[in-house]
């Protein structure tokens, strides 16, 4: 316990004495972790969007004729019997027209000019969870297209799949950026500690001569690296949160943003802790690189 307090006191003293290099190291660590954090934020939110869109996959079956009330019920029953279909909503020609008028009030003159309601009756199918893949939806669509009375089948799977691919690219990008930035920040921490070590070369020599073990000499420097890294991590989280709230405020608009019901999300607790831990580990690793240079045969 006494040793631990000695180590902590030494690490804090190092940080206080080398204020300028400490500030540079913490700022650089924070900057690199911010870059990594931005990638994580984009990844988390895109994944959220892709996930929510995936859950809302709809297949729209446009009918060639305007069915009677009984005909609509028959269509509903028939389509509900398909294993891929979770639910069916029938939209009559009149309902379609009413929805169009409600959604595009300024474009009403287009329909007025036509006289007759040009919009077809349709059935909107929600897809059951096990079939929410490009393949399954495509197969269903092809099957339904061949059914007599069906004019057209539409679904939005393709661009949802594309979005999922983008999310995967972001995942890979975050990993690559994370790796590059980790090496960069580790190097910076290593150099900061190295400066401290050079400044205290004589002191380290004295410690050796009075019988200090390598661990006793190194631990304060490892702690110093851990402190710098954690400080950098905390600073990056604070700045990420600030930046995130600013962007969220700027993008706040009535209704949904990119189909997300709850708007943008900040990093979950686990990822925030991960950033702090990344700072700590990178700081320690940087110190380790430097103190290894202290190795002498005796």
């Amino acid at each position: 316990m006494r040793r631990l307090s000695y180590f902590v006191a030494e690490a804090v003293m190092n940080i206080r004495i080398n204020r300028a290099t400490t500030v540079i190291a913490v700022a650089t660590m924070a900057f690199t972790l911010i870059c990594f954090g931005v990638f994580l934020l984009l990844y988390v939110n895109l994944k959220e969007v892709a996930g929510s869109l995936q859950n809302e996959i709809k297949v729209v079956v446009y009918l060639a004729d305007d069915p009677s009330s009984q005909g609509a019920t028959d269509w509903q029953r028939r389509l509900k019997a398909e294993p891929e279909v979770a639910s069916v909503v029938y939209i009559s020609k009149e309902q379609a027209l009413a929805e169009f008028r409600a959604q595009f009030p300024s474009e009403q003159h287009l329909l007025d000019g036509l006289g007759e309601n040009p919009l077809p009756a349709s059935l909107v199918l929600a897809i059951a969870a096990p079939f929410r893949s490009s393949h399954a939806v495509k197969r269903l669509s092809e099957r339904l297209s061949a059914v007599p009375g069906v004019a057209q089948v539409q679904y939005s799977q393709d661009w949802i799949e594309n979005l999922a691919a983008v999310v995967r690219y972001f995942e890979l990008g975050a990993l690559a950026v994370g790796a590059v930035l980790s090496v960069a920040s580790m190097t910076i921490i290593a150099n900061t500690i190295r400066l401290t070590l050079y400044a205290r070369k004589d002191e380290i020599e004295i410690m050796r001569l009075i019988g200090a073990t390598r661990t006793f000499i190194n631990v304060p420097y490892l702690l110093e690296g851990a402190m710098l890294g954690t400080l950098g991590g905390a600073l990056s989280l604070a700045m990420l949160k600030g930046g995130f709230e600013f962007v969220k405020l700027q993008l706040a608009s009535p209704g949904r943003f990119w189909g997300m019901p709850s708007g943008l999300n900040f990093l979950p607790v686990q990822l925030s802790v991960l950033i702090l831990l990344a700072g700590l580990v990178l700081g320690c690793a940087g110190s380790l690189v430097s103190v290894r240079e202290l190795r002498k045969p005796r």
């Binding site: 006494r2 040793r3 000695y6 003293m13 004495i17 004589d202 002191e203 020599e205 004295i206 410690m207 050796r208 001569l209 009075i210 019988g211 200090a212 073990t213 390598r214 006793f216 045969p297 005796r298």
Partner: protein, 222 residues
């Protein structure tokens, strides 16, 4: 206590020590005499494991230092006290903290540290300066702090490299008296010096080094 058998040490192929054979018994007071560059510091470095011999064997407390694992060296050093001409005090720590360092390193309790540091500071007559930083002390006072640090963990061997080099004759005499007192408590003392005034004060064995070779040995007088 300390045994050297045909020890040689070279720096860039130039011999710093050549074929030294020397035995120092437990409780002895030995003065290593010689001009600058004679190899005195090298000899002390070898004994304190700061260097390894190129030829020959060195036994310290019956342990062959050439065969010591690097991780064992700190533990051997804890049985030695080292005093340097340039004091080697940590400038950012006060006198108490400097003297406490060898005990901290060994994991002594706070109670032990307080007790032993106070005793060591009293022994060298500098307890009233315990809160001062080294820069605020005179050369003589700094050397006393260095000696206090060397004796605080009651070492078996005390090695001093030119301990009076930065001091005037009066202060040098006081420092030598301190070493004599330490020796009387049973510690083996080895002082390297080129100061011939020290010789007159010491009632111990004189070993003379010249150009890396052991030139003469004088037995204790008086």
């Amino acid at each position: 206590m300390i045994q050297l058998f045909h020890v040689s040490k070279y720096y860039e192929k130039r011999p710093a020590l050549l074929d030294i054979t020397l035995q120092i018994e437990k409780g002895e007071f030995v003065v290593l005499l010689g001009p600058s560059g004679a190899g005195k510091t090298t000899l002390l470095k070898l004994i304190s494991c700061a260097e390894t011999p190129d030829e020959g064997q060195i036994l310290v407390q019956n342990r062959n230092i050439a065969r010591l694992r690097p991780s064992d060296v700190p533990y051997l050093r804890r049985t030695m006290g080292l005093v340097f001409q340039d004091f080697k005090l940590l400038p950012k720590k006060n006198v108490f903290e400097n003297v406490a360092l060898p005990l901290m390193v060994q994991g002594a309790t706070l109670f032990e540290i307080r007790k032993k540091v106070t005793e060591a500071l009293k022994a060298v007559g500098i307890e009233q300066k315990k809160d001062s930083r080294p820069a605020m002390l005179s050369a003589g006072e700094q050397q006393r702090v260095c000696i206090a640090r060397a004796i605080v963990n009651t070492p078996i061997i005390l090695l001093a490299d030119e301990p009076t080099g930065n001091l005037d004759d009066t202060l040098a005499a006081e420092i030598v008296d301190l070493f004599k007192a330490i020796n009387q408590r049973g510690t083996t003392v080895l002082i390297a010096t080129h100061n011939r005034h020290v010789i007159g004060q010491v009632n111990g064995r004189l070993v003379s080094l010249n150009e890396g070779k052991l030139s003469r040995e004088y037995e204790p007088v008086g």
